[in-house]
Amino acid sequence: MIGAITALSDSVFFTGVFDPKIRTFDIIMKTANGSSYNSYLVRGSEGVAIMDTVKKEFSEPFFQRVELLCDYEEIKYIVLHHLEPDHSGALVELMGRAPHAKLIISGRAVMMLKGIIKEDIPFEVANTGKTISLGDKTIEFLSTPFLHWPDTMSSYLHEEKILFSGDVFGSHYYDERLFDDEVGDFSYAFKYYYDHIMRPFKQYVLQALKLYRKFDIDIIAPLHGPILRTNPKYYLDKYAQWSSEEKFRKNEFGKKMFSVFYISSYDNTHEMAVKITEGADDIDGVIASMYDLSSLDENTMIDLLEESDAVVIGSPTINGDAVKPAWDLLSCMAFLENGGKVGATFGSYGWTGEAAGMLHDRMRGLKFRLPTEPLKVKLIPTEEDLESCTGFGREVAEIMMGKMVEMEI
C-alpha cells in the first residue's frame, strides 16, 4: 500500500518511496530514523518529467505512484541528478516502460553511466543553462558537481519555483508527512547529513549556493527526507554558514594554523614534536600547536584537521607500523576537504623506522602537499637531532606561508 499521493503544487507530485527500517546508509552513516528515496513527477501541458528514480528494491511502490499519476507514454524526460544507485535503481525498468522518455544526465555522468547501468541507453547531457520544456513548464539545469558525487546537478522548475537539489539539503529522516512543517524535528538529521556527506566538499557547496541564490525558490525538493517549503532561505543559510565557518576563523585571525599531532611512549617522538612546534611558531603569521593523539576523540580530530593549514604527524615505529591513533587521525580526512593542506611526518624509531614513511605515503594518497621527506630520529634525539627538528618545523611553516620552492627534476 502506498497511501495517498503527496502534491508539492498543482503540477508536481512525490513519487518517492519510504525505507523506515534502514539503520545504516552507504556503510558510513547511521540512519536511526530510517530514510526515504525521493522522486518527483512534473506534469506540463506537453508531457511529464520524472525527477530521479529510487533504490532498486523499492521499485514497486515507485511504479505504483507513477502509474497513479500518468501513462508511461506521457513521460517525455527522466532526469537523474546523479547516478548513485539509491536514485538510479529503477531507471532501466522505467526506460523500458516509458517508450518516449529521454534520459537527461550531467556531463560528468557520461563516463560513469556504463559503470552503473550495464547496457547502452540513449541520453542527453545537461550543463548549467540548459533547459527542457514540457509545454507550459520549463526546467533549467545547474551544474553543482561533487555534491556529493562528481556528476551531481540540480534543476529549477521556473513556473512553480521549485529547486530539485539532488542530495543537497537531504536528511536521512523517515516521516511520511514529508513537508518540513509537518514532520517531527529533523534538524539533527539535516546537520548529520551535511557533516557526513557535504562537509568534504565545502567549496563546491558555496559555489552551488551562488547558483541557487539566483533563483526565487519557494520549495526545495531534495532526494532524501523532508521537502523544505516553509522558509527555504533558512536551509540555504545553514549550508552557507557551515561551509564558511573555517574561512571565517581564518579571516578573523589572519593567521595560519600549524598543527603537530604526535604520540609517544618514551617521550622521544614527543621531544621531536616540541622542537618542530617551536620552529614553526617562530615564523611570522603562524600559530603552531601540539596535540597528543592518545587523548583526542574523533570529532575533535575532525575539527582540528579542518582548521589546520599544515598537518604534521609524528609516530614511533611499533612492530613495523605507525600506531593506530595516527591512522585514525588520517582516516578522519574522509570527512573533510583537503584543499591543499601542507603535510609532513616524523618519528623516533628503534631499528627499522617505517612509521614516518608510511604516514607520508598515506598523506600523499590523501592529496596533501608534502614538501619535505619524513624526518626520522633513531631512539633518543641528540642535540643535533633536535636542531634539525626546529629547522624542519621552520621549513614546513615557511612553505605553508607561501614561500616559493625552486627545484629541478
Partner: protein, 98 residues
C-alpha cells in the same frame, strides 16, 4: 630545460623534455589531485594559464572528457594526460578551484 610553475603551491620546477606532470606532482609533493590516472574521471583537471604550446597535444579522449565539463575547454588539461614537450619555455598551471 622547460619550467613548470605550479601557482597554487608556489613551486617552480625545471624539467626535461618528456617529463610527465604525474612525475612533477610526485617529485615536488604538490597538492595536485589525481583520481583514476587514466583520463576518465576529470579529477585532475587544471588551467594552463600560459605555455600550453610546451605540452603534448590533447588526445581525442581528453578532448571528449574535457568537453563534458561544459566549460570553455581551451585552457583546460587533464594533468594525468600531460607531459612536457619542449626543452625550453615556461608553463603556468593552476589546479585549485577558484
Amino acid at each position: 630545460m622547460a619550467t613548470i610553475v605550479l601557482l597554487d603551491d608556489n613551486i617552480r620546477v625545471k624539467v626535461s623534455d618528456g617529463t610527465t606532470l604525474r612525475k612533477v606532482a610526485l617529485k615536488t609533493g604538490a597538492s595536485m589531485e589525481f583520481g583514476c590516472r587514466v583520463g576518465d574521471c576529470s579529477t585532475c583537471v587544471a588551467y594552463v594559464e600560459s605555455g600550453m604550446e610546451y605540452l603534448n597535444e590533447k588526445s581525442e579522449k581528453e578532448h571528449k572528457v574535457l568537453q563534458m565539463l561544459g566549460e570553455d575547454t581551451r585552457e583546460l588539461r587533464l594533468m594525468c594526460q600531460c607531459e612536457v614537450n619542449a626543452s625550453e619555455g615556461e608553463v603556468l598551471i593552476s589546479y585549485r578551484l577558484a
